[in-house]
Amino acid sequence: MSDIKELENTVIQVRRDVLRMVHKVNSGHPGGSLGCTEFFVSLFYNVMETKLPFDMNGKNQDIFFLSNGHISPVFYSVLARKGFFPIKELETFRLINSRLQGHPTTHEGLPGVRVSSGSLGQGLSVSIGAALTKKLNKDSKTVYVLLGDGELQEGQNWEAIMFASAKKVDNIIATIDLNKKQIDGSTDDVLSLGDLNMKFKSFGWEVINLDKGNNISETISSLKEAKSKLGKGKPVFILMKTEMGNGVDFMMNTHEWHGIAPNDEQLKNALKQNPETLGDY
């Protein structure tokens, strides 16, 4: 287990990776990536057991799915820094002939990715399937999945939410990145999600509220609390409040940085706010 200071250093380095990746190709999604950096670092460096080399079947391993595939930069950075593939490969993000497609895919054989995502609303169903297989295989490990809040507007999620509680899929932890922002504005303006806490509870899920999703200790503690609730007949949601663009002052408090890359000057400014810790790729 890594101590908090070390994890915070990793967060800063991952932020740098995210910013440099999207800047290089002048495309990609920095906002949500930066908002979920603490979550990814907490999950991959502390909470989840990961095994290398990568095995698609993930038997007797914790496994993770990313449903909101557009935050691929943070996913790729953490996978690379955890040793799933060479860190150097991050420089191929979104380039032709790269395994690091704009949205994650299994198609190019990138270790760490178990399903393609990009078209929203599909990851929860897939993770439920993987959780059912774990039960059939008498595999006691956990299935984790991350969803964006905006993608809860996709109806398939609600089919999956209904199913998981009705069928007692109690080996899954689904985290919602509650940044309350989507491409066209705030989720409240575009299509209000309503009271998610109440909705999820009434659908029969355990719900944990993580109010500081950009705080490493609190994120770890919520993930651990979620784990302690597994195996009791209910699936578990974490409602994780985050700040889109966290760690870069001019990217915070706005939805503007959902899907655009910083220019040279903005990159310089953003990197200055996040000085190199583990070494750039």
Binding site: G58, V115, L132, T133, Q156, F163
Partner: protein, 321 residues
């Protein structure tokens, strides 16, 4: 090989049901999912014998396709069951992203395909499913012709690694293929040898093609009948070899001509061996309510249509390509 008898009409979906039941007994990795159509899909026996490996998803096909994709992670072989319309058009993006682009070993098993779904009408029928599925890179598309072949196909796809679309139907149709034959994915079967015209048929149209060939015999026209059960990958060679001999072809299927088997064959032949072709298929329209037989007659998916097209294409042979 030229004489075929009907051992007794049966629905192809029951062939699927029997195949799945057998898989349940012999392959512990096979799991089944159904979206509230267990009886229609003949999945009850599998469900009763393997309750822990059967997942009732409810009326939520998108979720079913996603769960099926996830079940493969850890080594299960999921068979999903619902009507063809709800197995394809309704869930195209889920199949595309979570299953096929993700290379998941899911078997999408679709009953009530085509117009012979009958009385429920066009909202529940589908005549576009072969096209939708064959366009997906890496998808295998299979449309067996009778009960025995559907059962064999169901078992065969469990041993094949990769996404498969298996299409079958609702009504009782003649059961005439050998229950002990070896089902080879991607291999066509010559049911009758002939020299004047090639008829390539799939699904419910295969028996009608045999009947048409028998009738043509009376008119001294020798028809080669090929059963193409695997629409993708297509057995190019068996078709090319046949048309080299006959110099004309009729394709027959219970599907829109756009996107169907006939289209695949004409595309392939135009590149390899341009050949006069006539199509027995639905002419770019939706279906409607009616009994399966009435609908097959109205939409020209019958023996008479095959005979008409045979005569027409033989005449066209005089025109040099």
């Amino acid at each position: 090989m030229d004489n075929y008898i009907n051992f007794g009409s049966k629905d192809t979906r029951s062939g699927f049901g029997e195949g799945l039941t057998e898989l349940g007994r012999n392959n512990p990795n096979v799991v089944a999912l159904c979206a509230d159509l267990t009886g229609s899909l003949k999945m009850q026996d599998f469900k009763n014998e393997n309750p822990e490996r059967f997942f009732q998803i409810g009326i939520a096909e998108a979720n079913m396709m996603g769960i099926a994709a996830g079940l493969t992670i850890g080594g299960k072989i999921p068979f999903t069951g619902t009507f063809a319309n709800f197995s394809t058009g309704r869930v195209y993006d889920q199949i595309r992203q979570s299953i096929v682009y993700s290379s998941k070993n899911v078997k999408i098993c679709a009953s009530h395909a085509g117009i012979t779904l009958g009385e429920d009408g066009a909202t529940c029928q589908i005549l576009e499913d072969i096209g939708l599925m064959k366009m997906l890179p890496g998808m295998t598309v299979i449309n067996p012709c009778d009960f025995n072949q559907t059962k064999l196909a169901t078992i065969a796809i469990s041993e094949f690694k990769g996404p498969v679309y298996l299409r079958f139907g609702r009504p009782k149709v003649p059961n005439f293929t050998n229950e002990k034959s070896n089902f080879q994915i991607g291999k066509g079967i010559i049911l009758k040898s002939g020299k004047d015209v090639t008829v390539v048929a799939t699904g419910h149209l295969v028996w009608k093609a045999i009947q048409a060939a028998e009738e043509m015999k009376k008119h001294k026209i020798s028809v080669e009948v090929i059963n193409i059960h695997t629409i993708k990958p297509l057995d190019n060679q068996i078709i090319i070899n046949s048309v080299k001999k006959t110099r004309c072809i009729v394709t027959a299927e219970e599907h829109n001509y756009l996107g169907g088997l006939g289209e695949s064959i004409s595309g392939m032949l135009s590149k390899t061996h341009p050949t006069h072709q006539e199509f027995v298929s639905v002419n770019d329209s939706f279906g409607e309510s009616g009994t399966p037989n009435q609908l097959m007659e109205k939409y020209g998916l019958n023996k008479e249509s095959i005979i008409d097209k045979i005569k027409k294409v033989i005449k066209r042979k005089k025109i040099k390509l």
